[in-house]
Symmetry: C2
Subunit: 227 residues, 2 copies
Amino acid sequence: MDAAPTSKPAIEQIAERITDAVMEHRLPPGIKLVEEKLASAFGVSRTKIRQALTLLAKEGLVTLHANRGAFVTRPSAAEARDLFATRRLVEPEIVRNVIARACEHDLARLRQHLVAEADARQEGDRRKIIRLSGQFHMLLAEVSGNKFIEKLMAELCPLTCLIIALYDAPQTPACPEDEHRLIVDAIAAHDEAAAIKLMLHHLKHIECELQLDAEPKHEIHWETLYG
Amino acid sequence: MDAAPTSKPAIEQIAERITDAVMEHRLPPGIKLVEEKLASAFGVSRTKIRQALTLLAKEGLVTLHANRGAFVTRPSAAEARDLFATRRLVEPEIVRNVIARACEHDLARLRQHLVAEADARQEGDRRKIIRLSGQFHMLLAEVSGNKFIEKLMAELCPLTCLIIALYDAPQTPACPEDEHRLIVDAIAAHDEAAAIKLMLHHLKHIECELQLDAEPKHEIHWETLYG
DNA sequence: GTTTAATAAATTGTATGCAATTTATTAAAC
DNA sequence: GTTTAATAAATTGCATACAATTTATTAAAC
């Protein structure tokens, strides 16, 4: 019965930091995650890294090949379509629940996140922008109060970042402008219909900018990179 | 590029067998899972058990307490309500997708499952009935073709079994009669509205038989069990 | 007899070592 | 020069050993 704020298990922290790196496109899809390298990077033994990779594989962010190791997942176009179909199903429900249940403190958190996003855009920190954009939806799910949906979104958002990395048109601005702000405004105004409409439009907007019919971006070929 | 049917990783197999035991109420909510005992039961070292438990904890079926070990989760009433809310959101979508995409072979699999359920009921194998009832919904999700929803249902169904174990009225028949068959029939007839209605009714039926407002069943107190 | 303290046993958390497998490198053949 | 085979290096998969922690047991105090 310790009321102490027992910090998160080390393994989850490691998994979270790898997730952040994937969300920020610092670890591109397809790249190999060598256990020993991660172990020394995090200052722990391979045992812990292994468990973290097991977790990430369960999330789908990492793919395990027997005897060959762990790789950042390269989602297929079909998986990308399934992912967005799932988000279009779930996120309107999230919006409904947030409007129904969110207190002032929750709204303040959402607005604070909008400020962080605006700051990142001001600074031109493209990587942070991408990560924060994903985390906005995770925060919304958290505020919605349903743990199962929260967990689902915590998996789908990092995967969405991967899909964007693989299928995004070369030089799109990739920023949802202030669509997030519009959604929060509609939520604050308790305008359910508008909030859901904005959310669906936002998701369609992201999906439509992808080139899911084109070949996904190639894996880095180190040997020909400087040829 | 091996087309060989590489059997599932050992760790997942272990996790699956533990999941089956939970679904069949052979491992009741709250029970402690001692690593060494599982290790000898499965004939592997604790290392693998540990990873399997990490996976199950991620699914929510098992709860990890730092330095104290793994326990089969005891979902709260609030979690139970969230779970059913999530299922009411997702399963109609599953039904829609199954009707839209299922081929004859898929329908045959569903009907085959109905037979297995009927057999178990004939045999009076209560544990098998409970497990198969849950797995019907997992099969439906699998046939629906969306991997993310399939994965979600693969987590929610075992948890539902746990909730039933904790909150079910003492002596209910606990069998959804032939509600599953009615759903499959409506799907086969491509009657979307009817299939969804039956599914929602089925879920409500399960949830309503629970006593979520009552105290959950107590944990086993070994020391007083024979007092 | 119940509570408290001290000790012993059991269990978890982690690193490390070694066998099995894969990947990279070198040498040979054509 | 490209392909094939042989060897070496790197990496994964797994069990085991040991420290840290918790739980159970015993002994002492009241």
